[in-house]
């Protein structure tokens, strides 16, 4: 762990920012002067805070940047009628290229096919803190709507002046402004001039309500879909710019190891190889991958290793090393838990644990970097292009305006592609490559080892219920895993909820849903135990303690679809339910499992999930995201777990780190509730978080054995 990581201000809700760059290059004195000339240079970039842009802590604290207010920064209407939308978000498989284009087309009133989106390019798109937290639909969709609505009104105004017809008599749509009375019309492209782009949307603007959407709200197929079935789309890993070199990095044998001896005398004879040794960083770039590998193999190096925590002791370590929290935001309390427990008819105290897991995006971390006249361009699969730009500018001592980061549509991320490492490494090697571009593609083993993990955690819950099944006390402590989804949605007068920070053991960061999966696993498992203690039906127990009508709605809809409460038709069957609320959306999951004691096998037979995120922008894309989260959630629920010892990952391969495959996928029913009266929330994360507790609760229903650890590994609990 670097010093920066240890001292970095913790922001548990946004773990993604805790993983700091792995490298702090020294560069070298001559390098330094080449950049600056002799003397001292200080760059000051003035930045204003804007209410429009959500802020996010970056490596240098909070990086806020005022978003452009001019229409032209967000949208352009071409002479040929092509409309271009600009947003700093990245397309990582969640289908925002499509949903954002739908939004622009819908609000502006043009054909969907005439809109294209430019995304995640620090030179072309407005600043963006990152593609995370299910924020694209919640923040950028309304922003683009605002801009498109303003542009539409300005176009109507221009036509109104030109024809001397009141604006309210004119109609905008189909890419033109029309006057129904005279039959006259003018295309947007004929009306749009520079002056549209320089204007700003008014504070109050006439955004269409979801009930009036015509292009949004429909299952529009993925933009450029054909390119993905022909192999034509170029991911970062596929790029081959002229003269490109391939990079390989020499990784330390274990976490925290430092390079104590370096001898490259045997590499001197190699031709056409760029070899860089900078601190603990050693890398090579060559015209072929085998040549770069041969260069690294020729080196004689020695590393000094340091003691590291193993997976055997992690949970006791986390409890022992929790730091006392002084910040109010980590602890919420109301009423008296002691009084609530004293009044309880049933009390329960349980400790839950969650393992480290890996994102394992199928496209590994990769970057292509090129220096041209002191300017750096990096193509990289990242969720945070502007933060990567800032890191590159900082570490290479160049101004931000001289660094451009471009994100090709990326082979998935799941919260795992927030850091700048691959870009920094490629750029460091490219510095020695005389203007030639350098491509670095991490191997699967590097991906499993040197990226970062969803943090492990311990969650202790203490609770009480009255004889009628009402919660009287709730105390919830999360150690290390995070604060997302930590607040209970159930009504309880006496409660304490607290997050306890622990210094990082393994490099940790964001993950789809952050800690919401861990917190929902603990809470919803605990609620199930309380229901059985009451004893009450687990669904009835939840509803008895719920006031939020949206959460009740997803549970009640799911119960109907699943047929809850169900009668068992076979020995070994089990049914479970779990629900939750996070990031503006609601989920209820119902699971049917089958336990075969003879074969020592547990299989998930069916999952029914109800999801509600306000007005649905693209039901087809949303269904893909919801079903995808459910299937991905099976891995963390049942078997995914990072094993580590002596600073090494013991299962850094797909052969030893099991991810969900076809055979693991049960019958799935995803029910999407479309609330046109509620603003759209994002949907990439929340659908994952109730899978594990629903399955664990079903296992209890089948076996009367309570599982309190993620992954559940239910088979291990059948023996004996």
């Amino acid at each position: 762990m670097s010093k920066a990581e240890e001292t970095f201000l913790l922001e548990p809700e946004r773990y993604e920012f805790r993983a700091m760059p792995m490298h702090q290059f020294a560069l070298g004195r001559r390098d330094f002067f080449k950049i600056f000339g002799a003397g001292l240079a200080v760059f000051a970039v003035a930045k204003n805070v804007s209410a429009m842009q959500e802020t996010a802590p970056g490596p240098h604290g909070y990086h806020n940047e005022e978003l452009p207010k001019e229409i032209g920064a967000w949208m352009h209407i071409g002479e040929d009628g092509t409309v271009t939308g600009f947003a700093g978000k990245a397309e990582i498989g969640q289908n925002v290229r499509t949903s954002l284009a739908q939004t622009v087309a819908d609000e502006l009133g043009v054909a969907f096919a005439s809109v294209r989106m430019v995304l995640a390019d620090t030179a072309l798109t407005p600043f963006d803190a990152g593609t995370f937290g299910s924020r694209t639909t919640a923040t950028i969709t309304p922003q683009l709507r605002k801009v498109a609505a303003a542009a539409r009104e300005l176009l109507v105004e221009k036509a109104s002046k030109q024809w001397n017809v009141p604006a309210d008599k004119l109609v905008a749509g189909d890419g033109k402004v029309s006057d129904p009375a005279s039959g006259k019309s003018l295309r947007y492209s004929e009306l749009a001039r520079e002056d549209i782009g320089t204007q700003k949307p008014p504070a109050e603007d006439p955004i269409k309500p979801a009930s009036h959407w015509t292009i949004a709200g429909k299952p529009v197929p993925k933009v450029d879909a054909r390119e993905f079935v022909t192999g034509g789309h170029r991911y970062t890993t596929d790029m081959r710019p002229e003269g490109m070199l391939y990079a390989k990095i020499l990784r330390p044998p274990s976490f925290g190891a430092t390079l104590i001896d370096y001898d490259d005398s045997r590499a001197k004879a190699l031709k056409d190889v760029v070899l860089v040794h900078d601190g603990d960083f050693v890398g090579a770039a060559a015209p072929t991958v085998p040549a770069a590998e041969a260069a690294l193999a020729s080196l004689r190096v020695q590393w000094k290793e340091v003691p590291q925590i193993s997976d055997q002791e992690i949970f006791s370590y986390l409890k022992k090393n929790a730091q006392p929290s002084h910040e109010a935001r980590f602890r919420q309390a109301k009423g008296s838990v002691d009084d609530g427990l004293a009044a309880a008819a049933h009390k329960l105290e349980t400790s839950y644990t969650v393992a480290y897991i890996a994102h394992a995006p199928l496209e590994p971390r990769a970057a292509v970097a090129q220096w041209t006249d002191g300017k750096l361009t990096v193509w990289m699969g990242t969720q945070r292009p502007f933060a990567v730009r800032d890191d590159l500018a900082d570490i290479f001592h160049v101004q931000e305006k001289n660094v451009r980061v471009i994100v090709p549509d990326t082979g998935s991320a799941y919260g795992g592609k927030h850091t700048s490492d691959a870009g920094l490494e490629a750029a460091r090697l490219a510095r020695g490559a005389g203007g030639r571009p350098v491509k670095l593609v991490w191997t699967r083993e590097e991906e499993f080892t040197w990226a970062y993990f969803r943090p492990a955690g311990v969650i202790d819950v203490k609770s009480g219920i009255a004889a009628d099944g009402k919660l009287t006390a709730w105390e919830f402590h999360n150690y290390h895993s995070g604060m997302s989804g930590i607040d209970t949605p159930y009504v309880v007068a006496n409660q304490v909820t607290e997050y306890h920070q622990v210094p990082l053991v393994l490099r940790s960061g964001s993950y789809r849903g952050l800690a919401a999966t861990a917190n929902h696993f603990a809470r919803e498992t605990h609620m199930d135990s309380l229901a059985h203690a009451a004893p009450m039906d687990p669904l009835e127990f939840r509803l008895k303690n719920l006031a939020d009508p949206r959460m009740r709605a997803v549970l009640e809809t799911g119960a109907k679809a699943f047929g809850w409460p169900r009668q068992k038709s076979a020995e070994g069957q089990g049914f479970g339910v779990a629900a939750g609320y996070e990031k503006g959306s609601y989920v209820a999951t119902f699971a049917e499992i089958f336990v075969d004691r003879m074969k020592n096998a547990v299989s998930v037979k069916k999952l029914v999930e109800v999801f509600e995120c306000g007005a649905i922008v693209n039901p087809d894309g949303l269904r893909n995201q919801v079903v995808g989260a459910m299937i991905q959630g099976l891995g963390g629920a049942l078997f995914e777990s990072i094993q580590f010892e002596k600073g090494r990952i013991s299962n850094a391969h797909f052969s030893s780190y099991r991810v969900p495959r076809f055979r693991d996928v049960p019958e799935i029913e995803a029910i999407l509730l479309d609330r046109k009266d509620i603003p759209s929330a994002g949907a990439g994360e929340t659908p994952i978080m109730a899978i594990a507790p629903a399955i664990g609760n079903a296992f209890f229903d089948a076996t009367k054995v309570r599982l309190t650890k993620l992954p559940l590994q239910p088979e291990l609990h059948l023996l004996g």
């Binding site: 197929p221 879909a225 993905f228 079935v229 991958v289 496209e363 797909f654 996928v665």
Partner: protein, 159 residues
């Protein structure tokens, strides 16, 4: 030691100079620019690099270039004929059977191999046959749907 190797890929002949134990995947991607075939693990565990060799799905990261000389190789780039997609490609498109789509090439190649040996696979046979292909986005149900759609259109095409 690099040696000259003759390969037949998508109906064209190529001569490449690589050490004979170099995996075919790297020759396809880095030398020939056929980047539709993806690197996912380099260990034969994810299926992203699947190509057809002599009509059968193989993991190109596990095939040394020297072992790929005698039989025709088909990659995702070789499926489209005169602007028309292969029925399996079309079925993936129609079913919306991808999210990030990084696994899609490998899924399509594995599905073609299956449908060539079994024109009417059951759901269980599709699952069995695609078990070695990882989709991290969790699009499995739509991929199964796409293979079933393709089986129907390919059957109609042969009538």
């Amino acid at each position: 030691m690099a040696i000259s190797t003759e390969l037949e890929i998508n109906g064209k002949r190529y001569s490449v100079n690589y050490p004979p134990d170099t995996p075919l995947l790297y020759v396809l991607r880095d030398e020939l620019g056929l980047t539709g075939t993806k690197y996912g693990c380099g260990e034969g565990m994810c299926g992203a690099c699947t190509v057809l060799i002599g009509g059968t799905a193989r993991r190109s990261c596990q095939i040394p270039v020297s072992a790929a000389v005698s039989r025709p190789i088909t990659t995702i780039e070789g499926l489209e004929k005169n602007g028309a997609l292969h029925p399996v490609q079309q079925a993936f498109l129609d079913a919306g059977a991808f999210q990030c789509a990084y696994c899609t090439s490998g899924m399509i190649m594995s599905s073609i191999s299956l449908l060539q040996s079994n024109a009417h696979p059951s759901t269980g046979q599709i699952v069995q046959s695609l078990q070695g292909n990882i989709c991290r986005c969790g699009t499995h149900p739509r991929i199964i749907d796409a293979v079933q759609r393709a089986a129907v259109t390919m059957q109609e095409g042969t009538k």
